[in-house]
Amino acid sequence: MSPPAPGGRAQSAPLMGRAAEPTIFELSAPGRRSWQLRTTDVPEWPAEELVAAEHRRRAPVPLAEVSERDLVAHVTRLSHRQYSVDLGAYPLGSCTMKYNPKSCDTVAALRGLAGVHPAAPASTSQGWLALLVELEEALCAITGMAAATFQPAAGAAGELTGLLLMRAYHDAHGQRRRRVIIPDSAHGTNPASVSLGGYEVTTVPSDDRGCVDMAALRGVLDGDVAGIMLTNPNTLGLFEEDIEAIATAVHEVGGLLYYDGANLNAILGVVRPGDMGFDIVHLNLHKTFATPHGGGGPGAGPVAVSERLADFLPGPRPVRVPEDDGTTRYGREMPPRSIGRVHSWHGNALVLARALAYIRVHGGDGLRRVAERAVLNANWLRVRLSSTYDVPFDRPCMHEVVLAAATLKRRYGLRALDVAKCLLDEGFHAPTVYFPLVVEEALMVEPTETESPQTLDALAEAFERIAAAAAADGGLDAAHAAPRTTPVGRLDEARAARTLVPTFDARGG
């Protein structure tokens, strides 16, 4: 029996039996409603007289018919079958699933914030606008940028916004550039955003240290390159040490540097993208600044830019308006050459309030400690597990470490997927598997700064136990049977993908 891991291990999570939860349609009873109108003296009026025939449905939509009590019970039972950041450690690499402080939720729930309609005039929304201006200044100070938009709803929306800014900038300079460069280790959303933004992707390979191959980069740079999208630290969890040379080379051909801020919490308060030479930065507030995400969203993907791109930002933006009497008011302003709106109002505003609360609670030195702990935790795991698992890039990592089960697979047949499933039985969420694609049998572990040394120790022990068990007689069969303790066992992922059934037929069959 391993020592308790406060907060990190969820093996004690209770379940009321092993039965599968029915779908909401299976709980449906004809005519049952979750609302009723009380008896009033307001006269009834036939729908036919209120709504024109062409706007009326011919038949009711076949929705589930349940009472409020049944609905809440169903959703609560489902929620009890979920793993979550509040339940235990969630080392899902690249996703930064860290614990979100409840104080930030308290701030977002303040009536003065949650109760304000976004269409309220600026004169009655001064507090909100001041909050947004303050957050913009904080994010610009953290990233080394000049101005920001809060509209993008999450990371991928931020990427597209960044590419549209890139296009607007080149258009304004009368240049038609067609290509955007992406390293082969990039997040999968990068090439998708490039295509959606109307550009062609040029991929540059990683070198044997896991960083951008400078010679290959120079080989693809020319006047047709609109820019490069980089994550630093990159998706292998490694810092791009040649970043200044990369920035110089891209700027020399007139291209722009886009910073994918997915991994910002490794460098928070330590180094700034603006100082590295980046022109456009998106931030995942729902990762670095501890706001909910992963189905619990909504997210927020603000985009910050250098001075020369500020005029193109989406709008209207919250701004300070100096008054004649020396005081400051807050208003909204459309940037002169704006690409337009990418979201209504100011994006997912209550997420922004949480992020500012997080920044204010930590302060500058606190944010730096966030990054230092995140990097320390990942490196502790890297060193601890390097005798059991492959470490493809044996150098200090940043906030996440890429391990691999390639040797375990060759020796015992134990694959990364098996390790992930066995970890569930150990009471932990699985790490990211088979990503980055350039690493065989990759296991991408991101402990985040919120896990304690005891939790890291318990997590490492679990990894070690799984590897040791595979070497024993019958160990591989046992690993293939995992998970055994979860509400649903090993799924046939291949069959699910080959014969995809995305809908539920309420009539059965």
Binding site: L417, V433, Y434, L437, E440, E493, A494, A497, R498
Partner: protein, 126 residues
Amino acid sequence: MLVPDDLRYSKDHEWARPAGTTVRVGITDYAQDALGDVVFVDLPAVGKVVSAGDVLGEVESTKSVSEVYAPVGGTVVAVNASLSEAPEKLNADPYGDGWLCDIEVADADAPSSLLDADAYRRLTGS
């Protein structure tokens, strides 16, 4: 890992089986094992003209989507349409029922520039 002696291989893990002026093409046992369970195969159109190294199509597994490259240049004259219904053939029989397409080559000697079985075994350590 199975590496039949009578085939030729590319460094990108495709195999080529010459038969007169056409060459049958597929992915190797090593490739299907690395990909894992294949769930979708995107095949080239019959009549497509490719150069050696061009993208022929895509193979999607539960882990990833990977491009398949033409080991030889020529014209695609037949594709294994049964893969759209049964992509698992790529895993079960990569050198037989799991073939991808036939390419008619202009240069009948083209496959000889590819790796032989011994060289491919060395490349993959199998």
